[in-house]
Amino acid sequence: MTSDTPARRRARVFSRRRSAPSRARRRLGAAVRMIAALALAGGVYTAFTPGAFAEDNVQLSAAAQEGKALFDNSCISCHGRDGQGVEERGPSLIGVGSASVEFQVSTGRMPMTRQEAQAEQKTPQFDETQTKQLAQYIQELGGGPELPEGELVEDLKTNPDALARGGELFRINCTSCHGFGGGGGALSSGKFAPSLHDATQEQIYAAMLTGPQNMPVFGDNQLTPDEKREIITYITVQLQDDRDPGGLFNLGRYGPSTEGMAIFLVGIVLLVFTSLWIAGKS
């Protein structure tokens, strides 16, 4: 017990995720994935491109062609031709990556209806395939962060520790803006961190990877893909799906502000009516 200091124990808890996969292996994996992706893109390209010349100097896949059509229809007014950006209206999309597009479009933030402090979440204008096509187009245009293949959450049956680790990472990296309960919070001058209660796994992953709007970027060197998956596990399993054990109503998990309202609106009101009845003439 004496040699087993808390720090050391904590280090052990963390060391597992730090050591595996090692940096070298991660790099190797990235290289392999890159080559595979290139090969795949090339294959798709040769399979689908007809003999005709592409209009632009960038060679686009079929999906990206569809995406470009959508882009030219809905996004070009702010983000400009080929996503180069328009001064004072919309930023360049070169290098933002497909992850960013998937986040912004699937949450309905893009296309924006008007310029304001922060893009609002709305009903998405594009369906899933359209979103993927747009993302593919932007990806092929300038590269950038992409969502990984495969599951974005850990399986708690095989890896039960992932939940607590995800919680720990969530509290140090995410709660300051999104709150302990994931209900979101206010930022300066009308900006805000949105609620995470209806965010999908892909959206959370993409948001961490790309840092939409005022959210900081959590690159893969800072939070490894495994750590991101752990955070997503915590958000989806603990904050979204777990029913609160403490009552039928969780008062929005807003903490003391709603609790204070409840004690007056329910407790005091019930008891004042009771005392009115007690002292009333029968």
Partner: protein, 368 residues
């Protein structure tokens, strides 16, 4: 006395309580008379005994008591049989607390309303008047008590014996202080003691690391390379000393920010032209590190807005502009966030070139 009407004097005459003809209520009334209480009305709420209305009320009260019994019994049953151990997800055990609350709550409410209905509907209507007797003691009484108190003082004779007076002041005063001293003295801790006074130093002081520069680490103690933080990213870092990430070093958590190139240039410009020169040369590349501990009340000011480059403190909404030496731009904070001088050691890990040059954390009286 005054013109106040006193039931005991002007009201019903006293009765002989031993008179066998008196009813119990007559005796009660005699007691009331002696307590200066007059019953003005005291009548049943129902016309005649066992009236229909009365029976209905009795039935309702009995029903409330029965409901209370059933619900509290249900409380006991659910307490014993309902699965209660916490399980993840949407499970039956999530309803354990609500069931306990609903059964016990409504059970007690039914009991309470039953008792209240009994008192309110069944017991006779009553209107009694009691005299307050709030008059102060008579002047004579006051005089006697006062003189008695003075007499006690005279007996002690402190006035006549000045030596004793001095002895009380000088000889006995230390006794009181002696009782208080260990209580107060045991609590006193010098906040300014030691080579590294706690109010002015943090875990990044090389003195805590055997004179070596302190590395910036993650919460698990792993050091950080510049490429670990993406552009537009931020990371909470801790001093790379034993227990550096624990609450023992509560003043040390720091926010390492990787700024975009243009923001970094502006930040650098402002840091280099810092008035008191403390932030000069503290940036490393496009990286800048600020204490995470708000200079207002000590909350972690960590709501980093990567586009506006503001840091917001969630406790009292102070806002700091990172590009301008983290000067406060809104809210109750007066002092900028201290900047941690950054550099990179020979292995390529971030280290603190020195401790913070401004005092970290909330303001206090002696802060220079």
């Amino acid at each position: 006395m005054t013109a106040v009407h006193h039931a005991g004097e002007a009201g019903t005459p006293p009765v002989d309580v031993n008179d066998p003809h008196l009813t119990r209520f007559d005796i009660v009334k005699e007691g009331l008379r002696r307590d200066d209480i007059e019953i003005v009305t005291y009548e049943s709420q129902f016309h005649g005994q066992n009236s229909k209305a009365e029976k209905r009320v009795v039935r309702n009260i009995a029903l409330l008591f029965a409901i209370s019994g059933v619900l509290t019994l249900a409380f006991i049953v659910f307490y014993i049989v309902w699965p209660w151990e916490f399980e993840l997800g949407h499970t039956r055990s999530d309803y354990f607390t609500p069931i306990l609350g609903l059964t016990l709550g409504f059970g007690l409410l039914a009991l309470g309303y039953g008792i209240l209905a009994w008192a309110k509907k069944l017991l006779p209507h009553e209107l009694s008047i009691q005299q307050r007797h709030g008059d102060p003691s008579s002047d004579e009484e006051r005089l006697i008590t006062g003189q008695t108190a003075l007499f006690v003082a005279d007996e002690l004779g402190v006035q006549r014996r000045p030596l004793l007076k001095g002895a009380i002041a000088l000889g006995l005063a230390p006794v009181g202080i002696a009782i208080a001293a260990p209580i107060v003295g045991g609590l006193i801790e010098n906040p300014h003691k030691g080579d590294l006074p706690m109010m002015y130093t943090t875990g990044f002081n090389p003195g805590n690391n055997g004179g070596e520069l302190v590395r910036l680490t993650r919460e698990d103690g792993s050091p950080i390379r510049p490429e670990d933080v993406t552009t537009g990213g931020q990371m909470t870092v801790f001093p790379g000393i034993p227990h550096g990430a624990t609450n023992h070093w509560a003043d040390s958590p720091t926010l390492l920010i990787h700024l975009r190139a243009d923001d970094a240039a502006e930040t650098r410009r402002n840091a280099e032209s810092d008035k008191n020169g403390r932030n000069v040369g503290s940036m490393w590349g496009n990286f800048v590190a600020f204490s995470k501990i708000c200079t207002h009340a000590g909350c972690p000011a960590s709501l980093y807005e990567q586009q506006t480059n503001r840091l917001l403190c969630p406790c009292h909404q102070s806002q700091f502009l990172i590009t301008n030496n983290a000067q406060p731009v809104f809210g109750p904070a007066t002092r900028r966030l201290p900047m941690l001088p950054l550099t990179v050691d020979e292995e390529g890990f971030f280290v603190a070139a020195s401790d913070f040059k401004d005092t970290v954390g909330p303001d206090f009286w002696e802060r220079p």
